[in-house]
C-alpha cells in the first residue's frame, strides 16, 4: 500500500448511526420501530442503486423519503405527512458512533487531511456533522450529487481524487459498509473497513479491504 495522503469517510453507517432513528420510529409506531427502521434503511440503499442504474438520479433527501414511504406502506403503517417530515428530519440529527470523534481528532493531529465522501446531499451531511460537533475536522464534504450517480459507481469515488488533490491509491477510503469498500477498491482507492461487529461477513463482490479495523480510533493507531 502506498503512503496515504488523505482519508475520505463514508457517512451513513460509518460516522453516523442510521439506526439512531429507531427510538423515534418506535415512538411514532409502537411495536413497529425496529422493523420500520431496518426496512427504511434497506429501501433507501436499494433505491440509490436502482435509480443510479436506471439513470434517474434524485437527491438523497428525496430517496430517503421515498424509501421511508415504501417501508411504511409495506408494514401497513399509516404515515401522515407530519410523521414523514419528523422522521426524515431526524436524519439531520443522527447520533455519531462513540469512536468517531476521538478517532478523527487523533488522525487530524497526525496532519492527515480528512473528507466525507458520501451519498448524502451536501446539506444533509453538513447538518449531521454540525450536530455531532465534527464538521470542523473535515477539509471537504464531497457528495455523490456532484457525479449525479450513487456509490458504488466509480464516478463517485473518483470525486475524492480531484477534491483532495491526490491519486486514487493515495486516498484511504473508510467505510463500515462492506459493499462500499468493494466499490472503492474496485475504483482503485486504498480501503479501510471499520468492522464494528465481528459477526458481519464481508460481501462477496470480488475485493478485500486493504486493512480491517474495529473502530476509527484503531484506524488512527495503525496509520
Amino acid at each position: 500500500m502506498k503512503e496515504i495522503k488523505a482519508f475520505a469517510f463514508d457517512a451513513y453507517g460509518t460516522l453516523f448511526d442510521v439506526y439512531s432513528v429507531t427510538a423515534l420510529c418506535e415512538q411514532l409506531f409502537p411495536g413497529k420501530g425496529i422493523a420500520l427502521a431496518r426496512l427504511w434503511r434497506t429501501k433507501q440503499l436499494q433505491y440509490t442503486l436502482l435509480r443510479s442504474l436506471m439513470g434517474r438520479y434524485r437527491d438523497f433527501g428525496k430517496v430517503t423519503e421515498e424509501g421511508l414511504l415504501h417501508a411504511a406502506k409495506s408494514l401497513d403503517l399509516d404515515i401522515a405527512p407530519g410523521k414523514l417530515t419528523q422522521l426524515t428530519e431526524a436524519y439531520l440529527r443522527l447520533e455519531i458512533f462513540p469512536d468517531v470523534k476521538p478517532g478523527l481528532i487523533a488522525l487530524k493531529k497526525k496532519g492527515v487531511r480528512l473528507a466525507i465522501l458520501s451519498n448524502g446531499s451536501p446539506g444533509m451531511l453538513k447538518a449531521a456533522a454540525e450536530h455531532s460537533g465534527i464538521v470542523d475536522l473535515f477539509d471537504r464534504i464531497i457528495s455523490a450529487g456532484e457525479a449525479g450517480v450513487y456509490k458504488p459507481s466509480p464516478r463517485v469515488y473518483d470525486l475524492g481524487r480531484a477534491a483532495m488533490n491526490v491519486k486514487n491509491d493515495e486516498l484511504g477510503f473508510v467505510s463500515s459498509n462492506s459493499w462500499d469498500i468493494n466499490g472503492a477498491a474496485s475504483a482503485g482507492l486504498a480501503t479501510f473497513w471499520v468492522q464494528r461487529s465481528s459477526s458481519e461477513p464481508p460481501e462477496e463482490l470480488g475485493f478485500t479491504a486493504d486493512r480491517t479495523v474495529k473502530t476509527v480510533e484503531d484506524l488512527a493507531q495503525i496509520t
Copy 2:
C-alpha cells in the same frame, strides 16, 4: 398505450417461484430454510445491482452462488461445496407459478410473440423453461448478459426491441417485481405488473405500470 406486438417476461419471481428452493434450504439447514431462502434472494438481487454499478458484470450463475455464500455466512451456516452446488443447481429446476403456463398458452393462441427478458444466463433460463415445459412457447430467450449489465439498466430492456423487431412502446414487459416494472417503464416499454399479492405496495421509483393484473391468465384476458 400503443398496440402491443410482443410480450417480454421477466423470469425469476414472475414465471418461476424463486422461493421454491425453500424446501431444499430447510432440508439442508433445518430451522433455517426460510431465512436462508429469503436472504439468498435479497443478496442475489443486491449483487446484480452493485456489480452493475461498479462496472463489474459477472454471470448470473456466479452472482447467484456469491449471494448464497454470503447469505449462509451471515446466518452462521457452514455451507460445504456440495451443499452450495445442490442449491445453485436447484435454480435450474425452480417451480413455475400455476397461472403461467395457461396464461402463456392463451396469449400464444392470440398470435402474439413471446420472449423471456431476464437477468439469468441463457443456460439457466433454458433449463428452467424446459423443466417446466414452457420453453417452446417462447420465440426468444433474451439474457442481460448480452448487454453485460443487469436490470434495471435501460441497456437490458433495449435488448427486447432488437430481438423482437418492435419499438420499445410496442413491447409489453411483464414482471411481478415492481422495481423491474419501474426500470422498463423508464426505458419506454409498455408495462404489465403481475401483482400476485395484493398487500405488496409498488416501489416508490417514479413510474407506474400501464396495467396491473393478478395473474398471467388475467393478462391474456385483457390483451
